[in-house]
Symmetry: none
DNA sequence: GACCGGTTCATACCCGAGTCGTGGTCCCCC
DNA sequence: GGGGGACCACGACTCGGGTATGAACCGGTC
């Protein structure tokens, strides 16, 4: 896990709290957005805790860039920062916790995000719903997955190890089309190639179902 | 899944048995080695069941060639064919089941191989160990992980989404070396490309504990 | 010493992957 | 009806991935 906040005291406190959770290892701390991005790209933590006061190009942009590296962003908010929080969730953040949250709730929340769930502090869900209603009609579905259905389908087949030709045959389209979907999916997720895409998908959609990896025509 | 055996009756029986496993789809049957290789290259099944009586250049060669196409070979043996079986396992086969095996055990065994495990019929493990002892001193460690330390290290970096150039920089070797290790690792694991390798590594080194995906120093 | 396997590296080659630009369709909004 | 903006589909192009081959060095075993 990576911690990013401009308050050193808060970072220290988080580190101390998380020390009680042996399954959550803090690998690094960052004081600003630049450092967070560098560390996330290098260390590839599963979770990145981001304080809403972090200095940089802006929280939503930071969340987008961090998410692109494959990490899951959990926001650390303060009173009155609801607007930022909503925008950050739109940008792909997986959770929001108030800085006054109890240690137990914080740890449980991070674990929930690790399991693929989304964590929302009760103190802001009302505001969140309000913003979502008045925000955009489409919704963009950015809270879960920024990919369209087609891109998602292609990505899942990539994550099964199929080549573009095999995916094309499976989806009854041309190779060029598959490549196009993958290109867009890679850009939206901030990934580089199909290998990172496969890793990402296999990390988000946890295993457990009896799924067939081969080119079986189903 | 691809079935290859010279006994048509046996093939039909296997197909019938496997029909009860909805996650295991038989995509084709072959009666000899040539047909098996052609079908495996074309359909790229995850599993190929090979009868030890299959006509062709020889079982070990067939296993090697099939493995090269990316499929995982499970052998179907008969009494007295222990020697062939050992050689075939050396050649990269992932499992061995006796033709008199029960339907349940067969299905479970194939699923185990799909999970990356190795399946060995209890009726031949004794003979196998004997052959392994008297065979080569090295032992080849084909039961768990057929990769050398270097190949393992490269594979793990592939599984983190790094490019060959990045891996080369990380390990202080040339790109050519990285490519060489990857080529060998792919062949030994019976995989096709770095994407499948990444999936494989991420599936074998299971999560669950407080694992950190990045190259965290500690 | 001969042999074998692992590691390292270079060169050359083929092919798949990924990008880019284009065109079509649908839907929403003015 | 005419933009505008998505998503989808596709072809041409460039580049990195993967293989093949050959070679050198080192550490073991026969």
């Amino acid at each position: 896990m990576l911690i990013c906040d401009d308050h050193e005291v808060l970072r220290t406190g988080l580190r101390a709290v998380l020390r009680w959770a042996p399954d959550l290892v803090v690998v690094a701390e960052a004081a600003d957005a630049d450092a967070a991005l560098t560390l996330a790209a290098e260390l590839r933590p599963e979770i990145t805790l981001v304080g809403l006061g972090t200095q940089g190009p802006g929280i939503p942009e930071l969340v987008r860039a961090l998410t692109a590296t494959g990490t899951r962003v959990v926001l650390l908010g303060e009173a009155g920062s609801g607007g930022d929080m909503v925008e950050a969730l739109r940008a792909g953040a997986r959770g929001y916790v108030h800085t006054t949250v109890s240690s137990e709730r914080l740890v449980d929340g991070v674990r929930a995000v690790l399991r693929g769930e989304t964590l929302l502090d009760a103190t802001v869900t009302g505001e969140l719903l309000h913003h979502l209603d008045g925000g955009r009609p489409g919704g963009e579905a950015a809270d879960r997955n920024p990919l369209t259905a087609r891109q998602q389908a292609v990505s899942e087949l990539v994550a099964e190890g199929l080549t573009n030709a095999e995916i094309a045959a499976r989806l009854q389209v041309s190779r060029a089309t598959v490549k196009g979907h993958i290109t867009v999916a890679l850009r939206r997720l901030g990934l580089r190639d199909r290998t990172q895409l496969a890793i990402h998908v296999n990390r988000v959609t946890r295993p457990g179902d009896g799924r067939q990896v081969g080119p079986a025509n189903g």
